[in-house]
């Protein structure tokens, strides 16, 4: 893109605007860009750049969590690695807590399915909870600034921190409690040496949540939680408890798993159609 796009703009602009563009170009002084149209493009958020060749892509990213293969150690490792690479602060005050991924009990994860005679084993299993990246994400509908949005290319529900105004409508809309609000400046709870310099922190007053490691996918890496589970399962000699893949691709590993196992989704009755599946 770069220079070609701008060259194109320059030619197009000059020919469209005719003489009027000449002083405009002179005024731009450096003569490197016909910036009026560039600015217009920019104003309407026309993206620049391309998708890198190594990036992982899918129509609709999804994840399966095989709770039978998951233990507390793995669950905590997932949480730890995710929060570390994303600079999620560890705040002890539960009111100010920020979390992207965390283990919880069955009765909390599947409130409507819980009953007194539930299988004993299930009760103790760590259910890894995170953003469900719903197909019909209510959070995206309510966001007044489109700070949270569903990425068209791969269905990930993302946060654009530059736009978030902290209104917390999305938190009210999310049925899964997957979102956290930064009540305090998160940097106060991050030790400088623990910060991941490759990823930004957040500021006080914005909402945040799991992003399916969009920044890693762009570089051809699977989500960090999936990766660490794979490594740990390998050491143990078991199957990996987390499977990440394209829900839209019938041949994907994820779809094969969904075909062969019984899975649950959280609060399916709400019609949000989560993309995180739980193999019980």
């Amino acid at each position: 893109m770069g220079v070609n796009r701008r060259k194109f703009m320059k030619i197009a602009g000059v020919s469209v605007l005719g003489l009027g563009a000449v002083p405009a170009q002179v005024l731009a002084e450096d003569g490197l860009g016909f910036t009026i149209s560039e600015t217009l493009l920019h104003f309407f958020h026309k993206p620049a750049g391309t998708v890198a060749r190594e990036a992982l892509t899918a129509k609709r990213w999804g994840m399966a969590v095989n709770v039978r293969l998951l233990d507390d150690e793995m669950a905590n490792a997932c949480m730890e690695v995710c929060h570390r690479i994303h600079n999620v602060p560890k705040i002890d005050n539960p009111k100010h807590e920020v979390k992207w991924i965390w283990p919880d009990e069955f009765k909390h994860a599947f409130t409507s399915q819980e009953h007194e005679h539930i299988e004993e084993g299930l009760k103790k299993l760590p259910f890894l909870l995170m953003c469900n990246h719903c197909v019909n994400a209510p959070c995206c509908r309510v966001c007044p600034t489109q700070a949270t949005f569903k990425r068209e290319s791969d269905g990930i529900v993302l946060m654009d921190m530059h736009r978030c105004i902290g209104c917390r409508f999305c938190m009210a809309a999310c049925p899964y409690g997957s979102r956290s609000f930064n009540w305090v400046d998160p940097r106060k709870y991050l030790k400088e040496e623990d910060e991941n310099p490759e990823y930004p922190t957040r500021m006080k007053g914005v909402v945040e949540k799991c992003n399916f490691c969009a920044e890693r996918l762009a570089k051809g890496k699977i989500p960090a939680c999936v990766e660490i589970c794979q490594e740990m399962a390998k050491k143990k000699g078991t199957e990996p408890p987390l499977v990440f893949g394209d829900v839209d691709d019938p041949d994907s590993e994820l779809r094969q798993l969904l075909r062969s196992s019984y899975t649950l989704r959280r609060k399916p009755e709400l019609g949000t159609s989560p993309n995180v599946f739980y193999v019980v």
């Binding site: 910036t35 750049g49 949005f149 310099p197 490759e198 990823y199």
Partner: protein
């Protein structure tokens, strides 16, 4: 002059307010922006003149592209491919490794307070040189 006292007082107050920049700067040293260019990297993604005036728009474009459109590769004017990232490309150890010696120079001089650093982590620098104008 009639009502001279009041009028002169008014004029003096008015002039004092209007000449504020002149006397405010009296005796203050003339500072200058002195951004240090990276030693390793010789070329930016776009020409210097372009970056000088429009870097904020480029960065804005970058953030929209990466966050919203999943497009993270940028082909610079010289045909080189870059990862569109403030922290990992612009401010990488190989490039502008010191915010205080680069960004802050002009920003402080022209009193521009970009909110990038509210979230984005600037490169680590030796402590004493830290002069981060943090605005509330």
């Amino acid at each position: 002059m009639y009502d001279g006292g009041k009028i002169i007082t008014g004029v003096v107050i008015g002039l004092a307010l209007l000449t504020f920049p002149f006397w405010y700067n009296l005796g203050r040293a003339v500072t200058k922006a002195d951004p240090k260019l990276p030693t390793k990297e010789k070329q930016c993604v776009e020409p210097k003149a372009y970056m000088k005036t429009k870097h904020m728009q480029l960065l804005d474009l970058w953030r929209d592209s990466t966050v919203r459109a999943a497009k993270r590769s940028y082909i610079g004017f010289n045909g080189v491919k870059y990862d569109m990232s403030l922290q990992n490309t612009c401010m990488s150890p190989d490039c502008h490794s010191k915010k205080t010696e680069f960004c802050d120079q002009c920003h402080n001089y022209t009193a521009v307070v970009p909110y990038c650093w509210d979230c984005h982590i600037p490169p680590k620098e030796e402590k004493p040189k830290e002069v981060k104008p943090k605005e509330e």
